[in-house]
């Protein structure tokens, strides 16, 4: 369906930069079962990025963009920070909001899209740093959850203000010393996943982005639940290798270390009762679809 919507005028096709030609020919728009496994075999919805070499945010972006179930009808809302430098290279509608305002913008946007396109599923996904989500934007973050706004909030938690050189953030660990927070943080990392649960989120996950299949699963769950039930929240550890003094190749190991069972990014999830029912329904449907496909294939081979 969606490929129909993004046709290049035939007379202009040959002059379009190759990445746009690829986008209409080899991207996975309109493919419901798109996922992280498409990376490498189809056109990704992200071009070159301007993050530091090896920054885990770039992995997170790739996995999330590959996993959005409905990219042609998704609008992402970003905020200022390292992530905002990536959005200009992303093949998805996106809005850059004033720092901290992302969940307020997303609330209005989601409501407007629902009124404007009553027959069509439109997903809104907020993607912002920890400074934007938990410090300057905390009011907007929480109010959207209290109001049960139907969109997903994703926080790239690198535990500090990376883009401005390393100031203290609410999600920074206690005692941590950063370049622009020299005396060390005095209080504990804010427990935003727990706060999200208490504020009305129906699906909350706290994890790292070390495993692409896991990111696909939680992104899809978060979006489907937000569509049908209410707000969802993902807090993803994307360590700022620059600020913690790691090399480009060390981001993955840093995440693996941080997700060990006793560590702060050990996998944690909360799912509300209605969301559990929805996931069960979706799983059953998926099983049916796969069984039908198997039967069809067997029929073809017979």
């Amino acid at each position: 369906m969606s490929l129909e919507r993004i046709k290049i005028a035939p007379e202009m096709f040959d002059i379009m930069p190759p990445e746009y030609q690829d986008l209409v020919q080899k991207a996975t728009y309109g493919n419901e079962s798109r996922g992280w496994k498409d990376i490498g075999t189809s056109k990704e919805l992200i071009e070159e990025h301007s993050l530091c070499a090896g920054c885990p945010e770039s992995m997170a972006f790739r996995y999330i963009l590959a996993s959005l179930p409905n990219p042609e009808d998704t609008v992402m809302v970003g905020s200022t920070g390292c992530t905002s430098l990536v959005f200009p290279h992303v093949g998805i509608h996106n809005i850059h909001s004033l720092f901290g305002n992302q969940n307020a913008i997303a609330s209005g946007l989601k409501r407007a899209l629902t009124v404007r396109f009553p027959g069509r599923v439109k997903d809104v996904v907020v993607l912002a740093g920890d400074g934007a989500t938990v410090d300057i934007g905390l009011d907007m973050t929480l109010q959207a959850w209290f109001r049960q706004e139907k969109f997903t909030t994703i926080c790239f938690d690198n535990e500090l203000y990376a883009n401005t050189g390393g100031q203290e953030s609410g999600l920074m660990q206690k005692g941590f010393v950063a370049k622009m927070a020299p005396i060390g943080k005095h209080f504990e990392k804010v427990r935003l996943p727990e706060i999200a649960r208490e504020s009305g989120c129906h699906y909350v996950v706290n994890c790292t982005v070390s495993k692409p299949n896991l990111i696909e699963k939680v992104v899809k769950n978060a979006i489907y639940i937000a569509r049908e039930i209410g707000p969802t929240y993902l807090q993803l550890y994307t360590p700022c290798i620059l600020e913690i003094g790691k090399n480009s190749m060390e981001g993955l190991q840093e995440m693996r270390d941080a997700e060990k069972p006793t560590e702060r990014f050990a996998y944690r999830e909360y799912i509300s009762e209605p969301a559990k029912e929805l996931i069960a329904e979706m799983t059953a449907k998926e099983k049916e679809r796969k069984a039908a496909l198997k039967k069809q294939l067997a029929g073809q081979n017979a």
Binding site: R5, I6, K7, I8, A9, P10, E11, M12, I15, M16, P17, Y20, S50, L85, P88, H89
Partner: protein, 204 residues
Amino acid sequence: MTVQYKVLPGPEHYLPPSAASMGIRLPDPGQGHINGRIVPEEEAMEAAARQFLMAKVPTIFPGPLVLWAWNEKAAKKATAIRHLYETIKECITPSQKPMLIPMPDYRPKYPKIDPEVEINPNHPNLTIWHNKIDACMFVGVHCHQANLSLKIIRGGTNCYTIAMCAQAGHEDAMLSFRDATADKIMRLAEWVRKLKGSVQPSEN
């Protein structure tokens, strides 16, 4: 005494004023403007055709509104633009080098764009300087981005700018049409053909 501001090829200076703030007004239907002076549309047609025939690197910059076939009108305009480009190619001398360079979208593409294959409204000078473009026409670029870009070009380059605008025209271009249609673009191509051989390519 007030001095009438003229919208002329630059480089004017860093951050030139918007032409509107200097008293330049937009043409009415059936008119165009040249350097801010309101003229009948045919006069603008002739002047634009002359610029294309004179330029060393006459270039068309089609924007998203015509690059993407989002409706039938857009697809027709794309055909007309290609026709204009082919006509310019046929009507100039071998020493001139026409170009058709897209502006696929408006994202500020940092850290870099490839100036040989695209133009970006946030740093159009890169494409103009790199390809030594001395006359260009914007078509299918949303008003706000066109004005931004035309102003940057006037500020930092000596490129002659033409706007084939589908709305009310662009005062920040050196020459502007309004109410662009596929037919109007075809008429400009006819003017280029009509003047073929009568305009000397520029020396400098």
